[in-house]
Amino acid sequence: MTTQNQNEAVPHPIVGPANGSARTRIFAVGRAGAAVAGELMRGGFAPDSFVLLNRNAAALAQSAATEKISLPAARQRGAALGRGSTELPSRIKKLCAGADWVFVVAGLGGRTGTEFAPLVAKAAKEAGLVALGFVTLPFDCEGSLRREKARTGLEALKAVADGVVCLPNQKVCKLIEENTSLLDTFKVSNGLLADVLRGVSRMVMSGGLIDIHLTDLCMLIGGQQAESAFAAAEVSGPNRSCEVVEKLLAHPMLDGGQVLREAEAVLVSVVGGRDLAMAEVNRVMEQVNQHCENVPVVMGAAVDESFADRLAVTLLASRRRSPAGPALESAEVSSEGSDLPSRRCETDLESQLLSPTTTLRPHSRMVAPPPEMSQDGMQRLLAQQNGATGRRRKGSAKLRQAQLQLEIVSKGRFDKSEPTIHKGEDLDLPTYIRRGVVLN
């Protein structure tokens, strides 16, 4: 185990201005994490805000990051920093001290990232910080084994982290040219992840003029059913406010704006230099709003001194995850994590039916008096109840599928006719359902 800790003591390095705004620690797990970290450091992030976790000591040594944790190679399972040990979480907690945010960057599907990213996030949560995951999912061609592994890793991470932004690498394929080398492809993917990380950290750290509150961010990318898509664009020049939106909408992650229309909530962060004009912010927001008319949009703006003549927009859109399979899985995972916030303990069905803002439900006023019984009997009863809830969860996940089928039936008499698609919306579905009007 090799560590190069220069300053083990508490006041830990921070990124961003030290004017009391949030401070961040970035944990880069595995090779992909290290690559993204390298990208970020080249982009001006202070190397002392990074913690690298890797099995490959040689790779660790190459990085400029100050904090490095060398994980045991696979063959030495059960060694000091193995999965089961308590040393790793405690070290992570120590490294987290002084920060407010923890970003966990990893590529899922491999070994290190998949295994350790949830561990890091969990440790950070235990230390009382806000943990956000930024992960990539493997390419389709990498095979089903990796995909499955990545999926379980993602579920595990979602269960512990406050929010996860994930980039399916397959989407990068649309970005690159036919004959791009493998190396460059991964570079593009890492670059994208670095972009969004930069955007999010800017969002929370720049001490924005129009703040995006932590709760907004968590509402957006948190929540077990949510899957976030993101896009970031940076443009300079006189016509930047128009160009930046164009560039943003051309982003492959947004599927030509389709994602925006189907999004549950959209978060937009605009960062510019001192010359950032109100009209520009206005123009950007107007254009974004046009694409997601019926979707709540959270907006933030900040001024960064280093942004002379440049304008960067980061967009995060959360959408309901596609139904079936994974839902069941996530229910199981979430029931394991006992230290989750109460919001996560809502059953799947409820979080599916209610919007994230309403899931914070006040407790019922009526509280039944506790039954009088012996200690033994109570424990037995509790155990029974726990078992029962476990079963119900599985049942409810199935019930949700039934609900989704109803949605398909709702086209009624137009079921078999050619759909009327207008700007990505299927007009055959009742208007009030598409607009989310509730008939009480």
Binding site: F414, E418, T420, H422, L427, P430, Y432, I433, V437, L439
Partner: protein, 405 residues
């Protein structure tokens, strides 16, 4: 009893009904009289296009027979109205150099310019339905209505081209031909209704005609006396019914009945909390539905239709030219308060269209549902007049020749 050549029939195969209107040209070609209408419930049509040819054929026969009886004529040929989401309209410009020595623009030059304007890249399976002349330009000078006889070197013409999928257009033609009826011409429903509703003045100062059908919403924009924009939205009254059936959890037939009896395009205060009790034929209550929900579902759908149309017109850059306002026709124009809702969306005066330009059966002319069929008759009368004019022209010139000889 009638001169068969002066009988013009318009046939619209709609989604909710098939409608045939019989018109008679006055002997002096000055006026048009509607002398009979026939209609039948349509069962074989969805979203304006035939999905069951057999049923559609039966319904067309019923409607035509009814119209024949009412007008007491035999119908041999019809002007057929078509619609459907496959129809597209756009503006195109054709150029033709005038080559004659004296630079006089002849009728052939005009025809050639229009022909050139029709040369466009269409998908292989599409064909042109209409190419409607807008204005001519002679040597760059615009706003010329009829350049024949003028002098110039370069003749340009703007046309509004409508095209659609050939096979889908032929479906309805085949259905009519299956009944031993000739099809004189095929006309877009939206154009037909606008012909019936708009006066020349309204066309001149700018108007939008929206035909709110059961299956489709067809719309046409006129400015400066010519058609500038057309469109089809495959959403209509059936969608309202479908939404109600889904939202109120009642069968489609019941939803249709509720829509007709209790529907409204706007929510007013006094419908809050009111309920409607549906009872069966014995008078026993079956179900109660909330009136507010009914109207809200309906209002949202109708509003959305208007919004989509308004957006399209806006994109075509024509929303500021609708100085005569918006005219509504079709069954959807019967929805209470629909004009007020449309006013809110379009921010212009909105009226329910009345067929002004023809005379005849009062009961037929006042109904917004018949606007398309009557418009088809009107379209037919134009064709008829131009054909008659040509015949007369030939007769005259031949006569002169012989007289000279």
């Amino acid at each position: 009893m009638f001169d068969p050549s002066s009988i013009i029939v318009g046939l619209e195969i709609g989604t909710s009904k098939v409608c045939a209107a019989v018109g008679e040209l006055n002997p002096d070609m000055s006026g048009l009289n509607v002398i009979g209408v026939g209609q039948a419930r349509s069962r074989g049509v969805r979203k304006g296009e035939i999905v069951d040819a057999q049923l559609a054929e039966e319904d067309v026969r019923n409607a035509v027979v009814e119209a024949e009886q009412m007008a007491d004529v035999e119908i041999r040929s019809v002007f057929l109205g078509v619609t459907g989401s496959h129809l597209r309209g756009f503006n195109n410009r054709g150029v033709h150099p005038v080559v004659s020595a004296d630079r006089e623009i002849t009728e052939e030059d005009v025809q050639d310019a229009v022909k050139n304007a029709k040369v466009i890249n269409l998908p292989a399976q599409n064909r042109i339905l209409h190419a409607i002349r807008q204005h001519f330009y002679v040597d760059g000078q615009g706003g010329i209505a009829n350049p024949a006889g003028m002098l110039g070197a370069r003749l340009e013409v703007d046309v509004h081209v409508m095209h659609g999928n050939e096979n889908r257009l032929k479906n309805s033609i085949r259905t009519v031909k299956g009944l031993q009826l000739e099809v004189d011409d095929v006309v877009f429903n939206g154009v037909a209704s606008s012909l019936a509703l708009l006066t020349n003045e309204a066309k001149e100062i700018g108007a939008l005609v929206i035909d709110l059908g059961a299956g489709t919403t067809d719309y046409t924009v006129y400015t400066e006396g010519v058609i500038k924009h057309t469109g089809v939205l495959a959403v209509g009254g059936d969608h309202v019914t479908n939404d109600l059936a889904y939202g109120l959890k009642v069968p489609l037939s019941r939803a249709e009945q509720l829509k007709i009896e209790h529907g409204s395009a706007l929510l007013d205060d006094d419908c809050k909390g009111r309920t409607i009790t549906i009872s069966n034929e014995l008078g026993l209550p079956l179900k109660t539905v909330n009136l507010e929900h009914l109207r809200r579902i309906m209002s949202l759908r109708v509003e959305e239709i208007f919004q989509v149309v308004a957006e399209d017109v806006q994109q075509a850059g024509l929303s500021d030219y609708l100085r005569a306002g918006v005219f509504l026709s079709g069954g959807g124009a019967r929805i209470p308060e629909v004009a007020r809702l449309a006013e809110q969306v379009f921010q212009t005066p909105v009226s329910i269209g009345k067929t002004n330009s023809v005379s005849g059966l009062k009961c037929a002319l006042d109904q917004p549902e018949f606007a398309t069929a009557i418009g088809l008759v009107k379209f037919g009368s134009f064709k008829h007049k131009s054909r008659a004019a040509k015949v007369n022209f030939i007769k005259d010139t031949l006569g002169q020749l012989f007289r000279r000889g």
